[in-house]
C-alpha cells in the first residue's frame, strides 16, 4: 500500500488529500473549542451557554448545509450571490482557509493528548464530562464552530488565532517543558525548530565584548526607516564579500527589518495583491506561508517535486524548468495570477544547493514570464561541506532581470541568533526598496540591536578565523553523527552538506503510507518528548518525510536519537501486530 501510494497516480494522491482534510477538520475544532471553553471561561453556566449556543449554531448550519459537502462546492457557492448564502460563504471560505493552513502545517499536532496537554488539567471532572459531550457534538459537524470562536476578532483575526493555536501549541508546550542538561532531562528536545545551538558559546563571548555596548543618542532615536545607515552600509559590504558579488553592492539597495519573515511578508505585500500567488517549489520551509497568507493574503502555489529520479532530473526533488512551466500553466488555468517565484537556496528542508546553471535557468524562466524572483539565502554561510559550492544570486555577473530579483538574508541561521530578529532585503529595484521601507516602522529593529549587528558583521577577522571554521566543523560533526545513526537504522535521507537539517524518509514506518499516519508518527515522537517536523508542514506531496535539525549540542542530540530509535522500534512492533491482525479481520 505504501509503495503504491508513493508512486502515486493522480487520483490516489487526491484521495489521500481528501482524507487528510477530513481528518484535520475532525481534530481541529474540538481542540480549539476546548481551549476556548475550558481555558477562557471558568464558570459552569458559561459553558452551558456556550453549549446551547453551539447547538443552535450547529442546527442552523445543518439546515443550510444538508445538501452538499461544504469545501468541495465552494467555488459554486461563490458564484451565487444571494443575501442568504452570503454569510455562509464567508464562513465556508474561512473554514477552507483554515483547512488549507491546517493542511500545510499539520494542524492535528494539537490533537488532545494526555502527554501534551498541561492545559487540560484546568478542568475538573464535571468540565471534563461537558467537554466530552462538546467533543461529540462538535465531532458530528466538525468545523462549524469556527464562526463563534470569538465575537471579538475579525475573520482574519480568527484565522490568525487558529493558526497560532495550531502551529504553536506544541512550541508553547515545548517552551514550558524544555529539555535542560541538569534541570529537566525529561523535557522536550526540539529538533523541529531550525536553530543553530552549536555556537552559543562563541556568540555569547563575542556579544559580551565591550565594543558591543556602545550607546549614543542616535541609537535611541527614530532612525531612517530602511535601517540605520551604518548598518545598511555594513550589510552591503558583508554581502559583497560573502556573496562574492562582482561589483560592490549598494547600501541604498538594502532594507533591514525585524527578521526575514518580516522582509518576506513586506515583499509579498508590495509585489502581490490579495489572492495573487507566488510559485513555490515544495517541499519548502512552511514558516513563510504564514507571512504570505495571514498578513498579506498572498497564496503560495506549490511546484510539487518528486523524490523519485526521473528523466529530467538527476537527483531527488530536483527542480526543473519544466516543472515550473507546468505549475505556472496549471495556476493560470485555475485563474490564479502568479506574480513571482520563491526560491530558497540553500534549500530548506532539502539542504540542496542550486548550481549556477540551474539558478540561471530559473531566473530566465522567471524573466520570460515577467515573474519576480524572491530568493531566500538564509543559510548561505551554513554550507559546511567544503566540496559543496554555494553560489549566491548576488554573485552572478549579470542578472537576467535585476529589477525583479530580490534577495533575502538574515543572521538567524548563519549566526545562530534567531532571537535577534534581523533580516535584510537586497534589491536593485528602487520602487520595491521604497515600498518595503514603508514597513520600517512596523517591522523595525532597535537601534541598540542594529549597532550590535553592525559590529558583528564588521568583525571579518573573527567571522573568518573563529566563528565560521568552528561553526562549520561543529555542524559537520553533528551532521556526521546523525547521518551515521540514520544509516545504521537504514533510514533513507538526503545527504547534503548545507543547512541545519536532514530530510529523511520514514515511510517504511507508515502503514498505510498516508499523511494521517505521518501525523500519528509525529505524535508518537512528541509523546516521547521529541519534536521533529513532518513533511506535510513543508507541503511535501509524499507522506513519510521528516525534517530533523541536527545543529544541537552532542548531549541532547544523543538523547534525541535514543528517543527517536525507541519510537521507531515501538512503531515497528505495532506495525507488525497490525499486519497480523489485518488478515484476521478480513
Amino acid at each position: 500500500m505504501c509503495s503504491e501510494l508513493t508512486r502515486s497516480s493522480q487520483p490516489v494522491e487526491a484521495k489521500t488529500k481528501a482524507q487528510g482534510m477530513s481528518h484535520q477538520s475532525d481534530v481541529l475544532p474540538c481542540d480549539q473549542l476546548r481551549d476556548q471553553v475550558i481555558g477562557n471561561q471558568s464558570s459552569h453556566t458559561q459553558l452551558m451557554e456556550t453549549l446551547l449556543h453551539l447547538r443552535q449554531t450547529v442546527d442552523d448550519c445543518i439546515t443550510q448545509l444538508t445538501t452538499r459537502p461544504p469545501q468541495l462546492d465552494l467555488p459554486l457557492e461563490e458564484q451565487r450571490h444571494n443575501q442568504a448564502t452570503g454569510e455562509q460563504e464567508a464562513f465556508l471560505r474561512r473554514v477552507v482557509n483554515l483547512l488549507q493552513s491546517g493542511a500545510m502545517w499539520g494542524l492535528g499536532l494539537q490533537a488532545p493528548r494526555p502527554t501534551l496537554g498541561p492545559r487540560d488539567d484546568a478542568g475538573g471532572g464535571q468540565q471534563a464530562q461537558l467537554s466530552r459531550q462538546l467533543d461529540q457534538l462538535v465531532h458530528q459537524l466538525s468545523h462549524l464552530e469556527v464562526a463563534f470562536v470569538s465575537h471579538d476578532l475579525s475573520n482574519r483575526g480568527i484565522d490568525i488565532s487558529a493558526f497560532e493555536r495550531s502551529k504553536f501549541q506544541d512550541f508553547k508546550t515545548y517552551q514550558g517543558d524544555k529539555y535542560h542538561e541538569d534541570k529537566n532531562t525529561m523535557g522536550f528536545i526540539n529538533l523541529g525548530v531550525s536553530e543553530n545551538k552549536l555556537c552559543t558559546d562563541l556568540m555569547t563571548e563575542r556579544l559580551s565584548r565591550s565594543d558591543m555596548n556602545h550607546l549614543e543618542d542616535a541609537l535611541l532615536q527614530y532612525s531612517d526607516q530602511r535601517g540605520q545607515p551604518f548598518l545598511r552600509e555594513e550589510v552591503a559590504r558583508f554581502l559583497t564579500y560573502y556573496c562574492k558579488s562582482p561589483a560592490r553592492l549598494d547600501p541604498e539597495n538594502v532594507v533591514v527589518l525585524s527578521g526575514c519573515c518580516s522582509v518576506f511578508s513586506a515583499l509579498a505585500t508590495v509585489l502581490c495583491d490579495p489572492g495573487e500567488a507566488l510559485l513555490t517549489p515544495t517541499p519548502f520551509f512552511g514558516g513563510l506561508v504564514m507571512g504570505s497568507y495571514l498578513y498579506s493574503k498572498v497564496e503560495l502555489m506549490p511546484v510539487h517535486l518528486d523524490s523519485e529520479i526521473t528523466d529530467g532530473s538527476a537527483r531527488p526533488f530536483q527542480l526543473t524548468v519544466d516543472k515550473l512551466e507546468q505549475a505556472l500553466l496549471e495556476a493560470t488555468l485555475k485563474g490564479k495570477k502568479v506574480r513571482g517565484l520563491l526560491l530558497i537556496n540553500p534549500q530548506n528542508p532539502l539542504g540542496d544547493v542550486y548550481s549556477r546553471d540551474s539558478l540561471e535557468e530559473y531566473l530566465e524562466f522567471a524573466k520570460r514570464y515577467n515573474l519576480h524572483v524572491i530568493i531566500d539565502e538564509l543559510y548561505m554561510l551554513s554550507v559546511f561541506d567544503d566540496s559543496v559550492t554555494f553560489r549566491s544570486v548576488l554573485s552572478m555577473e549579470s542578472l537576467p532581470d535585476p529589477n525583479r530579483t530580490h534577495m533575502i538574508w538574515g543572521t538567524s541561521k548563519d549566526f545562530g541568533i534567531s532571537g535577534f530578529r534581523f533580516g535584510a532585503l537586497y534589491t536593485h529595484n528602487k520602487e520595491v526598496a521604497s515600498a518595503v521601507s514603508s514597513f520600517g516602522f512596523l517591522n523595525g529593529i532597535s537601534g541598540i540591536t542594529q549597532y550590535k549587528l553592525c559590529r558583528l558583521l564588521q568583525d571579518r577577522e573573527w567571522i573568518d578565523k573563529v566563528y565560521l571554521p568552528t561553526n562549520h566543523s561543529r555542524l559537520k560533526a553533528a551532521h556526521r553523527y546523525i547521518t551515521n545513526k540514520l544509516k545504521a537504522l537504514k533510514i533513507p535521507f538526503l545527504n547534503r552538506g548545507s543547512g541545519l537539517y536532514v530530510w529523511m524518509n520514514l515511510k517504511e514506518y507508515l502503514q498505510p503510507c498516508t499523511f494521517e499516519e505521518e501525523l500519528l508518527l509525529h505524535h508518537r515522537f512528541l509523546g516521547n518528548k521529541l519534536i521533529l517536523s513532518p513533511g506535510k508542514t513543508y507541503m511535501c506531496k509524499e507522506p513519510g518525510w521528516f525534517r530533523l535539525i541536527f545543529s544541537d549540542k552532542p548531549l541532547p542530540l544523543k538523547l534525541a536519537m535514543h528517543r527517536f530509535y525507541e519510537v521507531l522500534a515501538e512503531q515497528k512492533r505495532d506495525l507488525r501486530v497490525k499486519q497480523l491482525e489485518d488478515p484476521q479481520k478480513e
Binding site: 545562530g416 514597513f439 529593529i445
Partner: protein, 521 residues
Amino acid sequence: MFALPEKESRAPSTCPGPASTQDLDSNCGDGLERECSRKPDQKLPELYGVGDPTAGFSSNSSHLSSRGGIIKWFWDSAEAGYRTYHMDEYDEDKNPSGIINLGTSENKLCFDLLSKRLSQSDMLRVEPALLQYPDWRGHLFLREEVARFLSFYCKSPAPLQAENVVVLNGCASVFSALATVLCEVGEAFLIPAPYYGAITQHVCLYGNVRLVSVYLDSEVTGPDTRPFQLTVEKLEMALQGANSQGIKVKGLILINPQNPLGDIYSPAELQNFLEFAKRHELHVMVDEVYMLSVFEESVGYRSVLSLERLPDPQRTHVMWATSKDFGMSGLRFGTLYTENRDVATAVASLCRYHGLSGLVQHQMAQLLRDRDWINQVYLPENHARLKAAHTYVAGELRALGIPFLSRGAGFFIWADLRKYLPEGSFEEERRLWRRFLDHKVLVSFGKAFECKEPGWFRLVFSDKAHRLCLGMQRVRQVLEGKSQVAEDPPACQTQEPRDRHRNCALRSQDNPSLGEDLPVK
C-alpha cells in the same frame, strides 16, 4: 515606529491639499475587496471625516502590486519634509545652519540619564536563551515586569497579569496588529481629530483599515468646556455618519494624554467614552504612550487601567511603550495589555513580524524593574526638564501673542497660527510650514493631524536648550517676517536670552541662513 518621527516630520507632505476630492478608481484599493474602493465622502464634513489615506495617489508601477504602489506612495509622499531634514540635520559643530527638528515627537532631554543607566552592568547580560526564538508574546520575564510596572504606574486596582501582556516592537505595531485582528479589510476605527497622524498609516499598511475622524472644534461652546473637547455626542454623530455611509466601525482609538493637544481625559470623561463604546460594541484602543510624561502634577492623569471597573474589559485594549516616556523611540519597545485572550493570542501570532531582540527584552526588563532609579532619578529629572523646556517655549509664544494649548503633558504645544493665514486655507498652512522649513526649522502642521481648522501647528519642545532656543528663534523670524510683511528686519536678535540659553544668542548671530529671503513655493 520609525515612522513616528518620519511620519510626523514628513506628515506635512502626506497631506497634499486637494486630496480627498479626487475620486479614485478601485485599482488603488485592495483590489479584491469591494469595501475598500472609496466613495465620495464627507457629506457632513463638519462632524466627521472618513479617512482616505491614499487619496491623491496615482501611479502605475510595472513592478509593484496595486497595494504595493500605494505603500510606496506612502513612502514617497512622506519623504519630502523628512528627507530635507535628514539631509541637513542641525549639528552644533558640524552643521550649525542645519534644520532644527521641532516636528518629531521625541524626548531628547534625558539621554545622559538613560545612557548611564543602560550602560550599567546588569544591562549587558548575554545568554543563549536571549539569542534564540522567544515566546512570540515576549519573554516571560519581560511580560511579568511589564505587568508589575503597569500595575504600579497605572495604579490598577488589582495586579495586572503577565498573561495579558504582549510585547511588540513599538506601538505602531500594536496598532497594526490590532487593526488586522479586529477588523476586516475596509472597516474602520473612530478617532477624535486632531490626532497623531501616523496612525492612519499604521492601521492601513497591513490591515487596510480606515480611520473615521471625529472632528473637534477649537471653539469653546460652554462654561465647562475646553477647546477641542471630545464629547459623547460627537462620537455618536460620527458613528452615525459613518454607518450611514455604509462604513462598518469596529472600534474607537483614544490617545491619553492626547497627541497633539497635550490634553488629558478625566476619569469621568473616560468612563463616558468607554460606555459609549460598550453601547455600540466597539473595541477601545487606549494609547497611553505619554502616561509618564505628565510633567504638571496638578493635572491628575488617570490611566484607563486605574478605573475600578471597565465597562467592557473584553473590548478594552491598552498600549504603552518606552518610546516617549523613556525617550527611547529608537529602541522599539511597545506593549499591549488586554484581558481578551483571543485578541492577545491573535496579536501574539503576528509577533513574528513585530518581535524585538532578546537582548533588548532583557534590558527593558531591567529598566522597568529599577523602580528606585525611575522614581528618584529619572522621572523627577525628566519632568523638571520637560517643564523648563515647556515654560520657555510657552513664554516665547506668549511674547509673540500666539494662542496655544498645553495642559502639562506630552512633548508638544498645539499652537494657533491662524492669524498668519489671511485666507485661512490649508494651502496657506502648508506654505507657512514650508517657510519654516526653508528657515531651517521643522514643525508639524495641523492637516497632518487631520485637524479640520487650518492654521494649527504642533511644536515639540522636548529638546536641548540650545537647539530649542535656536529653533524658536527661527520660528519667530518666520512669523515676524510674515506678519510684518515688507517691514524692516524683525527685532529677533535683540530678544534677550535667558541664562540657560546663553548659547542661543551667540549661535543665531553667526548663523548665515537666518533672515534670508524666503522662497515660497
